[in-house]
């Protein structure tokens, strides 16, 4: 299996604080990699460095063998890397449908073609399928801001999948979602993964969610990787237990 994402010796410091400290790992094609760790262990900073939202202080990021360190998020997205956010990020005044078209339209043709072409950028059917896949059909015309928190999380995930990405980074998809919605979200993520053989990286606090969804888990503490392995190994690893409960 080839590596979709390679991160080597990545470092990010804010003033005197090193949030991500010499982190190296790779994500293989088709796997669901979980990244767990206590609060302020550097998970989100790591994501933001990989995705170009933050410029790393050192190290390198490669996507499909191509160096992408410091690349703008929009360019990275066009290489097939997509993400969801820890804190909800939808376009609240746009309808659910427009949110999804917007999530895919920049992958359709050139800028000029989009100006003179169809209003839905030819994504009408793809959006209908995505809406059905995430059970949002009854809400398609509603403004995204009017949806419940859990429904917005589903929409957020659906948006990340609109352009058919090869790699999706999910930042705490389960955060603040109630149990019913959570199992629905997990089931939809697993289904999408099975259908497209997509590659996921998931940051999560909710252990059950990680254990059920991920094929491999990295543990981050104080900006460093302290453990790596299959979910059931991680659960028993004394270093991990210490990092979560020891302080």
């Amino acid at each position: 299996m080839s590596a979709v994402l390679e991160v080597s010796h990545l470092r990010k410091s804010f003033g005197g604080i090193t949030a991500v400290d010499d982190v190296s790992f790779e994500v293989r094609d088709g796997e669901i990699l979980g990244i767990i760790g206590p609060n302020s262990s550097g998970k989100s900073t790591l994501f933001n460095c990989v995705l170009g939202q933050l410029r790393p202080s050192g190290g390198e990021v490669r996507v499909g063998g191509r160096t992408t360190t410091g690349m703008r998020p929009c360019d990275l997205n066009r290489l097939g890397v997509s993400r969801t956010f820890q804190l909800l990020q939808v376009f609240p005044q746009l309808s659910v449908r427009d949110n999804l078209i917007l999530a895919g339209q920049e992958h359709q043709g050139s800028m000029v073609a989009r100006l003179i072409g169809r209003a839905d950028a030819g994504l009408g059917e793809a959006v209908d399928r995505m809406i059905a896949f995430f059970n949002l059909a009854h809400l398609a015309a509603e403004p995204a801001g009017a949806l419940s928190y859990g429904q917005q999380k589903l929409l957020d995930a659906a948006m990340a999948f609109m352009a058919g990405p090869r790699l999706v980074l999910l930042d705490e998809p389960a955060g603040g979602v109630n149990l019913t919605m959570l199992s629905q979200l997990r089931e939809r993520l697993a289904a999408y993964h099975a259908e497209r053989n997509a590659t996921f990286v998931v940051i999560e606090h909710q252990m059950e969610f990680v254990m059920a969804l991920c094929t491999r888990v990295l543990v981050l503490a104080e900006g460093r990787i302290i453990a790596e392995g299959a979910p059931h190994e991680i659960r028993r690893n004394p270093v991990v237990i210490d990092a979560y409960l020891g302080h």
């Binding site: 703008r72 929009c74 997205n77 997509s82 746009l94 999530a103 352009a163």
Partner: protein, 325 residues
């Protein structure tokens, strides 16, 4: 668009076409001014209402457009060419003014654009060799097309109205295309937009440039409308006035600028009966309006219609796609 929207637009278009037959020359001058300023307000509505970028420089672009046309036509250049030049020049300058917007937002951006407006005013006033300084430029001629002169108020009004219709249609097309959705994405959530492959830098510059270009085209009609331009007309006052039109009409609503410009052009005239107090009355009206309905007149209309349709239990059907925010 809803059926109500289509009906209202058709009615307004018919009124705009037949109105000059019932007006004296000054009335025609006023509605011509409405058409001209609506073009500039449409541009600002694109930059501010749709793309969410504050600009206090729209008046300056009207000024640049007006001076471009005045100077070029007096140098013997045909009007059509001067008109296009005004649009292209403002597009280019607007693109450059967009660069600060990539670094600063909201009130900081307002200050940057405010400074630009002052700069343009100073250049127009001080560079006498080019602009005639405080004396301005006199005797700007109205164009003729295929032997038809627009020198009289009525033909010139129809020329302005036609230009407004064409530019409004082009803007409407752009706003319903994926570009319009990207502009709204920029306004609603730039970080998310970027993570979805939307080149926020290019769209921000584009929003500024197109908005400025429309400002320039508005100025290109302004000069032959008033036939005498001087720097004072394009100082901060005009930029504030255009901002007011966009906000009072309904920022982010396609027809907001049409309504806002109508209020801003006609209300002061109607209030002349209040004599010296009319500006005060006008200011209070605007303040009350902003306090109780920050989404503008069209926002108020939508609110009333939504409340009415909720009582009919037909709300979701009416909210379908269209020119809403």
């Amino acid at each position: 668009m809803t059926r109500f929207g289509i009906l209202a637009t058709t009615a307004a278009a018919i009124i705009a076409v037949v109105l000059p037959f019932f007006l004296k020359p000054f009335g025609i001058y006023l509605i011509s001014m409405w058409a001209v300023l609506t073009i500039a307000a449409i541009g600002l509505n694109l930059t501010l209402g749709y793309a969410g970028q504050v600009s206090m420089a729209q008046g300056a672009f009207v000024g640049i457009g007006a001076y471009t046309v005045a100077l070029l036509t007096q140098a013997g250049c045909p009007f059509a060419l001067a008109f296009a030049a005004a649009g292209v020049l403002c597009f280019a300058i607007g693109w450059m003014l967009g660069y600060p917007a990539l670094r600063v937002a909201h009130h900081y951006l307002a200050f940057v654009t405010l400074a630009f407006t002052t700069l343009v005013f100073l250049v127009l006033r001080n560079e006498e060799w080019l602009t005639g300084g405080t004396y301005g430029i006199n005797g700007i001629l109205r164009p003729a097309f295929f032997g038809l002169s627009t020198a009289k108020p009525q033909p010139f009004y129809y020329f302005c109205l036609g230009t407004l219709a064409v530019l409004a249609l082009a803007t409407w097309w752009m706003l319903r295309s994926p570009w319009g959705r990207a502009f709204k994405g920029l306004r609603e959530n730039p970080i998310r937009a970027q993570s979805l492959g939307i080149d926020t830098r290019r769209y921000t510059l584009m929003a500024f440039a197109i908005g400025a270009g429309l400002g320039g085209l508005s100025g290109a009609l302004y000069a032959p409308l008033v036939q005498f331009i001087e720097p004072g007309s394009f100082a901060l006052g005009l930029s504030f006035n255009l901002l007011l039109m966009v906000i009072v009409g309904g920022s982010g609503y396609f027809f907001g600028p049409f309504v806002g410009a109508l209020v801003a052009v006609l209300l002061p005239e109607w209030m002349r009966i209040a004599e010296g107090y009319y500006l005060i009355v006008y200011a209070v009206a605007v303040m009350v309006m902003m306090a109780f309905c920050p989404s503008g007149i069209l926002g108020l209309v939508e609110r009333i219609r939504n409340a009415a349709s909720r009582s009919d239990r037909a709300a979701p059907a009416l909210r379908a796609e269209g020119a809403g925010p």
